[in-house]
């Protein structure tokens, strides 16, 4: 991680330029341009709201806010992971043209999608209908944990997919399964009080970091309650460990990966 900090500083211009390019490229072709940054989460909310409330007749009051608060961090995670697993393959030419830490290829999509997520969270806040208060600060450690986990997993997947291209497909399906295994469309409390699941299964389910993360986002944004500090501490350690592992693996393989891809 120390080396990570060094690399971040020494390559800050490169990273900034790449994120800027991604953001520019996300709007440049569209007449509505920047508006899409806000329209994206709104339209997303509309579709799922219609589906869950209209078609299935589920969800309660303010379901749209509840839903969006889960969907936004979920999308950050899934887009960043999806981009990471393809990062090397897509940037093949780049890797042979210039010398730069491959880590940036995983970092850039993650930061870009973080930017979109921040806009989305702001939209949630508007719809939540109360004045922002200190609880907003709680978003910082939560997002940081998500960032570390996403980057760590992203690095590992990037390396594995270089050796085993099938990983791209597997990841797509894995993410789809994870979507339903994460409390995006439903509440954590719902699972816990359902009564049909053995408690061991619920414990197992809670190993999914998104259970904790999404619950915390919603708590902070909607109900204005603080996250479970004990769990936050544990997940911070897990995130740091994952990130470190991912970085080490990626760095060890860096020179081999250039030849493999």
């Amino acid at each position: 991680m120390l080396r990570l900090a060094q690399e971040l500083v020494s390559h800050r211009h490169l990273i900034a330029a790449q994120v800027r390019a991604e953001l520019q490229s996300s709007t440049v072709n569209y007449r509505l341009g920047l508006l899409w940054w806000v329209l994206n989460p709104l339209l997303l909310m509309a579709i799922y709201y219609f589906l869950v409330r209209g078609v299935f007749g589920r969800g309660g009051q303010n379901y749209h806010v509840f839903l969006l608060a889960g969907l936004i961090p979920w999308q950050w995670f899934t887009f960043a992971i999806g981009a990471s697993v393809r990062a090397l393959e897509r940037n093949r030419d780049l890797m042979l043209q210039a010398k730069f830490p491959l880590f940036t290829l995983v970092l850039v999509p993650c930061l870009t999608n973080l930017f979109f997520a921040l806009i989305g969270l702001a939209v949630v806040l508007v719809f939540a209908g109360h004045w922002p208060d200190l609880h907003l600060l709680g978003l910082v450690p939560i997002a940081l944990v998500q960032l570390m986990i996403t980057l760590g997993v992203g690095c590992l997947l990037a390396v594995v997919s270089a050796y085993l291209p099938d990983m791209e497909r597997l990841t797509d399906f894995g993410l789809r399964a994870l979507f339903y295994l994460s409390p995006v469309l439903y509440e954590v409390a719902m699972i816990k009080s359902w009564g049909k699941l053995p408690s061991r299964l619920i414990d197992l389910w809670q190993l999914n970091p998104l259970v904790f993360l999404l619950e915390s986002y919603r708590g902070l944004l909607i109900k204005q309650v603080w996250p479970d500090w004990g769990a936050l501490a544990i997940w911070t350690l897990v995130g740091a460990a994952l990130l470190q592992l991912g970085l080490v693996v990626l760095r060890r393989q860096e020179h081999q990966l250039c030849k493999l891809i």
Binding site: H13, L14, A16, A17, Q18, R20, A21, Q24, S25, V28, N29, L94, M95, L96, Q97, A98, K99, F100, Y163, P165, H255, C258, K259, L260
Partner: protein, 247 residues
């Protein structure tokens, strides 16, 4: 360049028994046809050479002889699988259009490409007018790259790539771009950077070019170093070899 005798000048690049190995991917389970006989493939093997300050070294070899692999080794993108490489200077390879994005404008791409060359935003802002002028793209620079012709893209790529100030320059036969007028200017520009560099390694199929520019030529064949001698010794024999093996 220094006025010392060649042997007395400091070594900038030293390779000792360098080899570079590629490993083939395992085949798909349902693949048909013959499996490749070996999984390991040595692109370079047993390469020993020394490049001193002030040298202009040409590299020749047929397709697949390992020229580009050697260039990537020298720039540190590949790492040798055996042997030792010692590089005592900043080696840069002239690479065109790094990270170009077709949907963004010429100007935006200057910043992207420049960032990969290690320039900060401020450094690029300082250079951008010079780049645009050299590429002669004043009217088009704020159009997306999609709307550029191939030649215009190549000119922009070249103008950015030659902003580097390398200590050792590796040229991978990339400066034959654009129309006739641009080609002459680009040649001039490459020679300018080369003149400022401590040493230049030039990979080319253009033997006339090499004959003019490089006193010393290295000949690679099947990943091995076949000859390393003055150009007037290597080039005729290489030409002969190519003719014999053309059939």
């Amino acid at each position: 360049m220094s006025q010392l005798k060649p042997q007395a000048r400091p070594v900038v690049i030293q390779c000792q028994g360098v080899g570079l190995k590629f490993r083939r991917r395992r085949r798909s389970l349902l693949a048909t046809g013959a499996a490749p006989p070996v999984r390991d493939f040595w692109a370079l093997r047993d390469i020993s050479l020394e490049i001193r300050e002030g040298e202009l070294v040409g590299i020749v070899g047929r397709n697949g002889a390992g020229k580009s692999s050697l260039a990537l080794l020298l720039t540190g993108i590949y790492r040798a699988d055996e042997g030792r490489i010692q590089v005592n200077a900043r080696v840069s390879r002239l690479a065109l259009g790094i990270g170009f994005r077709m949907d963004l404008t010429g100007r935006q791409n200057i910043f992207i490409n420049g960032a990969y060359l290690g320039f900060s935003r401020r450094q690029i802002i300082r250079r951008q007018q010079e780049i645009i002028d050299f590429a002669q793209l004043q009217d088009f620079i704020d159009e997306p790259l999609n709307h550029f012709s191939d030649g215009m893209r190549a000119r922009l790529a070249f103008a950015i790539a030659t902003c580097i100030e390398p200590e050792v320059l590796v040229l991978d036969e990339s400066f034959n771009t654009g129309d006739e007028g641009f080609r002459a200017r680009s040649r001039q520009r490459v020679l300018e950077i080369a003149g400022q560099a401590k040493a230049v390694v030039m990979i080319s199929h253009n033997l006339v070019n090499l004959q003019d520019l490089c006193p010393r030529v290295i000949w690679l064949e099947s990943g091995r170093l076949k000859m390393d001698a003055p150009a007037e010794e290597v080039l005729p024999r290489y030409r002969q070899f190519c003719l014999e093996h053309a059939a």
